[in-house]
Symmetry: C2
Subunit: 421 residues, 2 copies
């Protein structure tokens, strides 16, 4: 490492002539490409999903809240997207941005990340800066990718910069979120910092790549823990004859030392219900406990079942003969993703139920119904599972026979026909 | 209730001529007396501890961070303090402000509160407004105090207003913290609101007394949960070769969705390690689980033992023959309280250790040593247990042979002789 090459890569970064490559063009990889592309960097993207790239060419990001029109306008100019991995060889910087996930037994699955590492190594070109952005267990970059790169016996730079974003939150964009940076060596870190600073990011250099990896997962674990706490307390308060939403609203008046988290049918998405398991899984190797994370994951799993229990109690007929409509199946308000969606789990627990979601046409073999508020009374119960902004909750309450509200979306309307769950 | 009496009590509140009585003159009861006393209300206080009242008369609050000189200047004028409960009979408003606590088996103990209720009822005078301020399980005021008052067959007003404070935090005082108010009836709530508004408090009326009780405990549970999470992760990260303080510092750069909580030898004080158990205990009656609270309480209990484990590993000799000094035994930085102090637990786990605390002279039969930085090398290990501001941490690191730092107080100084615990 070092010497002329360092200088030339740093120089290319500073002059925005370094080609930035991304492996994995999901909502994270695309945002990074967009951020660098808009600042004038040549960008290249590799993904294994041909259909996705076809959509991009038509200007469709496939992500409801992230249109990225300006990014796709660069296609054929400074942006090239391909299903051919050799495109990565042209990049000066390669960012690994593939998802990691969890199986039905809450066991993490890093297969995609490892395959991506192999692809990066196969396409490696001397002097490249490789940055891992995927969320993973502390130690991954140094323990898994570094040995593969070392075997090449070529000059390389290596860093880890976790992805920080909040799907659907328009208050922050890529460059307005500080970046936790890290590098294998001081030189690597310097390069990583220069890269993110070149597009206007504030950087926070971490003590090591492992610390940066841990910090990201730690923030997700904090959120899961507090959401699961709200959910466990929801059940407890309900049994004691209280509405947790009232309790949290009161508690939120405390001007210090409290941050409200709200109940739901469970946290969904790529991060919150998934990433915390990496700490627990990795900790086990060291005989270290993560009991709060484990329990928070379990509570999160149980929540859709709790909603079904509340539905069953509220119905005037057996659940199996009831007509039920599930409103919203995406993992979060106003997004079209289904990753680890608790609302989808509710739908799956009700095989005969209909569903509607403004952003999702089809789930498995089931098509969304056309939403007609005047026909809501055809259903014995309507479950507000994901509280998309486009719904008219006043009308839902007015027109339904029974509403199971998992999001407090009916607050402010008559609660006579409403059961919170 | 109602009619002329209501009018006359409301009038007395608005003209600041209502006498405000407090049962239990701890740091909470005293702050309330101070707030009303300074605004011109006549105030009376009852406590069973004669020694405490003697101290007050000498102008000593007995609480290091709360001198309350102006309050004690009112003694013999508009303020009367007594060990005779009949003094409460003179009050128009009686605030119950006695502590609740937890035993060694994490079982809540409400004996003092129930005795206080009995005292209030014994001294009850027609038309009084009784406000419970003690932290307790949701339902206490309605289930325990209300039936006692009803039996008297006299007119009364009843409310619950939880205490919200942060010992040692000078940013907020009694009137600058919004008050969660509640009352048995609308009339009671109106009276309670008028009372707190009369001294300039912002009020947040809760849906019921139970909700106000729950909201208070909920905020404590949130804190305990997050502190215990930081502590469990501290152990895990340490085994993985990371310093959790570095991880949390990095995570804190996330501009949304994260609030840092820091590791420690365990949360102490009257509230955080105690109050959450009330929810768990009460929930059990309803077959409702509070698994996260239960686990957070257990982690909090285990932490002092973890510190001892780290000490044992770091020493070059058996623990039983080592000379150990514990710095700081109060439950929190810059306070003199010992309630549920984790640092005190560390001292108790080391029967032969010396201790020093600028605010505490004696613990059980053990006297604090005189602190001489040049003599720190007499000890095989110095444990920073409570990180009082008066300590010179640079000197502690310089002069000690081995420092066990439970608070990251040595950050910025050479870490050669330091073991984080």
């Amino acid at each position: 490492m070092g010497g002329v090459l360092t200088h030339s890569l740093l120089e290319k970064i500073r002059t925005k002539t370094a080609t930035i490559g991304v492996i994995g063009m999901g909502y994270i990889g695309l945002q990074l490409l967009d951020a660098f592309g808009q600042k004038g960097f040549p960008i290249v993207g590799f993904d294994i999903d041909e259909h996705k790239i076809e959509c991009f060419k038509k200007g469709d990001s496939t992500i409801s809240y992230l249109p990225l029109k300006e990014l796709f306008a660069l296609l054929g100019k400074s942006f090239e997207a391909s299903i051919d991995p050799t495109i990565l060889n042209r990049a000066d910087v390669v960012v690994v941005s593939v998802p990691t996930n969890i199986d039905k037994h809450l066991v993490p699955n890093f297969d995609l990340l490892r395959k991506a590492f192999q692809t990066v190594v196969n396409q490696f070109r001397e002097g490249q800066l490789i940055i891992v952005q995927s969320t993973t267990y502390p130690g991954t970059t140094e323990d898994e990718l570094l040995p593969m790169l070392k075997k090449l016996k070529k000059r390389f730079y290596l860093g880890y910069v976790p992805e920080i974003s909040d799907p659907g939150n328009v208050e922050y964009n890529f460059t307005s979120i500080p970046r936790m940076t890290s590098g294998l060596t001081t030189e690597c870190l310097e390069m990583v910092n220069a890269l993110y600073e070149s597009i206007g990011c504030q950087v926070y250099p971490c003590a090591s790549m492992k610390v940066a990896e841990a910090a990201k997962v730690y923030t997700n674990a904090y959120r899961l823990l507090n959401i699961s706490f709200a959910n466990e307390m929801k059940v407890l308060f309900d049994k004691m004859g209280m509405d947790i939403w009232e309790v949290i609203e009161a508690a939120s008046t405390k001007p210090f030392g409290f941050a409200p988290f709200y109940p739901s049918p469970g946290a969904g998405g790529d991060c919150i219900p998934v990433d915390p398991s990496y700490l627990s899984w990795k900790g086990t190797e060291f005989d270290a406990k993560a009991t709060l994370i484990d329990q928070a994951l379990r509570i999160n799993q149980e929540m859709p079942h709790y909603v079904i229990d509340k539905l069953r109690d509220a119905l005037n007929k057996p659940l199996k003969s009831a007509r039920v409509l599930v409103l919203g199946v995406a993992f979060k308000k106003d997004v079209n993703g289904l990753q680890e969606s608790a609302s989808l789990k509710i739908l799956n627990l009700l095989p005969d139920a209909d569903f509607h979601d403004p952003y999702i046409e089809k789930v498995n073999e089931k098509r969304a119904i056309e939403l007609n508020y005047d026909r809501l009374s055809d259903y014995d119960a309507v479950i507000i599972a994901t509280d998309h902004s486009v719904y008219d909750y006043g009308k839902i309450v007015e027109k339904s026979l029974l509403v199971i509200d998992t999001r407090n979306a009916t607050a402010g309307f008559s609660q006579k026909k409403v059961v919170k769950a």
